[in-house]
Symmetry: C3
Subunit: 119 residues, 3 copies
């Protein structure tokens, strides 16, 4: 906990996904809600995507943040806004009309399991 | 909003994922719940999959629809049924016993963030 | 229903994902909550990942289990623990400090749709 998943469409040429993960990881950490080592991010380029019913020209970038239940609505709202702001800084120049979205979802704390293998 | 994610197993030879995304995008739009430009789809072929404990012969196709909270249970149920119906039309001939599933989930409206870069 | 998604970071050299899916599928089945043919698993190697703000040395493995709503909190908690235990047995030797996490989430039973094509 927490998990961050970044998806970006393949037409977003020049997108630096490793740098974006670092920027978003920093934003997660700066929220003060999480220990640094607990933040787990992954990025995926979407080769198959579609906007609406026929549009493959428009690009989009979507982030899902999954965190343990228990944070207040205010904390989650602030986190979503923070991630959206950081996300905007990751976009390469020369793209317009890109849709950026952030979904913050709870994971059920009572069912979540975590194990760290001994170092 | 909304997001649609399509997964299909690699053994489903001949599956036309770009066409399937168009069919599903049209079904989403035809529901009347969403603006066309807001519908964001992606498709992924599952190279590593398993049914049960040892079966890699059976194929499956799974769709997850994520939409902002606030729709009624009836609206979401109708949407799930509509997507399942559309999904059946995307299957290539010659496959039997394929499992098709649709999961409609809410995204917390209060935490969702969206930005569109100026065009 | 149910769906199981396994993600593992690319630095986890020697990870046998097909075997891991079989182990996890067996653990799902052994829970007694599901029919064998209903369990649908997929595995994905994460080429782009990050722990914290800069760490790409630490490995992680994450499982998300999605099941129809209606199980009790106790059943879901036990399932999460069972999957976490099985997950530990899938790790290759020689890795330390790996983070293993399991997220058990409900799918809304009223909106879920399933069709099986005639065999």
């Amino acid at each position: 906990m927490p998990h961050l998943s970044l998806e970006y469409t393949q037409n977003l040429t020049g997108y630096d996904a490793p740098a974006a993960l670092r920027t978003l990881g920093q934003a997660m950490f700066d929220s003060g809600l999480f220990g640094e080592a607990d933040i787990k991010g992954r990025a995926q380029c979407l080769a198959g995507y579609l906007v609406g019913t026929s549009d493959t020209d428009t690009a989009f970038v979507h982030v899902q943040v999954s965190l343990l239940s228990g944070r207040t609505a205010e904390q989650k709202q602030a986190l979503g806004a923070r991630i959206a702001e950081a996300l905007q800084t990751t976009l390469p120049a020369g793209h317009s009309g890109v849709q950026l979205t952030v979904d913050v979802r709870d994971m059920d704390r009572d069912c979540y399991a975590k194990v760290v293998l001994p170092g």
